[in-house]
């Protein structure tokens, strides 16, 4: 057994243990903290699987935004948790849930164990045409040249999720400002941190976004970092969320998918197919789409964490 294999097996055991514990523990807060740790482990696993793009996403999402989102949620559920814990579901419900989960697991296991060996792959075909896209990172090429429709739908899904969150707002607060818990002292340590880190975070976020064309990285990862920086500033009480009725905010939110669609459908005229890029223009067009999607994603991700509006819009 090689050393690398031993490390991988150890990682797998650890991640299984962490996953099991996250499900088994009764306390929501403990479970959420377990989940954040699980995300960190997952980052390591993706690195071991030689998928740095995914590792980067997991590091930004799992370590940052999802963690903050879930911890905030757990803090809110605190008050109701004691009541919920007394309501244990009946024997029948629990047995049914167990059987259902076991069936899904078994089905997945059967699928995975019966995969043909070697697994069918389109990787050589994708790599062969990489040159015509002008993009160096195969992941970006797949996302924006071969499967751009999926990527467009992903961006739209993020927006739809945001609208879903907004729709939870009380009628009175519609069009108002989302709010984080910001009772921090503007001279305190959190404010200190939030004054120093964001400029550096902006550089790193833009860097991760920019290199995505040729190396692991990309708009989702970069946007997550930028959104996290914005949330940090707001969380430290140094800034506020804009009211969601602001025109510029709504324009930026739809601008990304809109530019994507316009360029995609322009392909009918210029290249003979929807989402096809005219020869020689692939890279600039892909870059234009990514740049337009960037503000959309930053806003949408930060506002998703912020939750529904909780304050009246300013008159």
């Amino acid at each position: 057994m090689t050393l690398a294999l031993a490390v991988d097996i150890g990682l797998a055991m650890l991640i299984l243990a962490m996953a099991g514990w996250t499900i088994a523990v009764r306390d929501t807060f403990a479970s959420v903290i377990g989940f954040v740790t699980y995300g960190l482990l997952l980052t390591l696993v993706w690195v071991r699987l030689a998928m740095p793009d995914v590792a980067l996403t997991e590091a930004a999402m799992g370590g940052g935004l999802t963690g903050a989102l879930l911890i905030g949620g757990a803090a809110r559920l605190r008050r109701t948790e004691a009541a919920v814990r007394t309501e244990r579901p009946g024997m029948l419900t629990r047995t049914l849930a167990a059987v259902l989960s076991a069936t899904v697991t078994a089905a997945l296991a059967i699928c995975v164990l019966n995969l043909p060996d070697p697994a069918p792959t389109l990787a050589p075909d994708a790599a062969a045409k990489l040159g015509s896209t002008g993009v160096g990172n195969p992941v970006t090429a797949v996302l924006l040249a071969y499967r751009s429709m999926d990527t467009l739908l992903e961006a739209i899904v993020v927006l739809l999720a945001l609208f879903g969150v907004w729709s939870l707002a009380h009628d009175r607060f519609w069009g108002g400002c989302p709010q984080l818990r910001t009772h921090a002292d503007s001279e305190g340590i959190l404010a200190y941190f939030a004054r120093i880190l964001p400029p550096i975070g902006i550089i790193v976020g833009v860097y991760i976004f920019w290199i995505g064309a040729d190396f692991p990285g990309g708009k989702f990862q970069g946007a997550t970092i930028l959104a996290a920086m914005w949330l940090l500033v707001i969380g430290a009480g140094l800034a506020y969320f804009p009211p969601i009725s602001q025109a510029w905010l709504r324009i930026l939110l739809v601008a990304g998918p809109l530019v994507f669609m316009v360029i995609g459908f322009a392909g009918i005229v210029t290249a003979g197919a929807v989402f096809a890029y005219p020869i020689g223009f692939a890279k600039p067009l892909i870059l234009a789409i990514e740049i337009a999607l960037m503000p959309t994603l930053v806003l949408a991700l930060a506002l998703l964490v912020a939750g529904a509006p909780q304050r009246m819009p300013p008159q």
Partner: protein
Amino acid sequence: MSNIPMRAAMTRGAIYLGFWLLLAGTDIADLSAGLAAAVAATWASLQLLPPKGGQFRYAALARLALRFGQESIIGGVNVARLALNPRLSLRTGFLVYPVCLPTGMARNTFGAMTSSMPGTLTAGIDDKGALIYHCLNVDESVTAQLTIDEGLLLEGIGETDDDA
């Protein structure tokens, strides 16, 4: 725009651009994105941390950095020794240290630095604005150490009396 913000903006912009070049390399093709990022970072930095006049004394800051390095190593060794010692010999307790440093950046930098130094951990601010420290071993030497650090930091940011 007066002189101070302008100069601060140029300095900070240069630093952020330098950081970009470290990350992305000096490829000309990447420079436009780097400039945009540097401008955004400088803007954010000026918003979050409005520049004030005042002279840094780099010699004192360098001495402080050196001391910080040494002390954090001692701090780490100290904790390691305590943790691995079969008999836990801790006399933990709180200590209130009244700070002369101005509130805001200077005081927080002090709090952050001393938290990495042996035996001390900043655990909040009391009503009068003094820092509350949690100490692994409460005795006289803690205050003496903190005073040395504070003196160096005061000198470094040009807040000492001999400035005039």
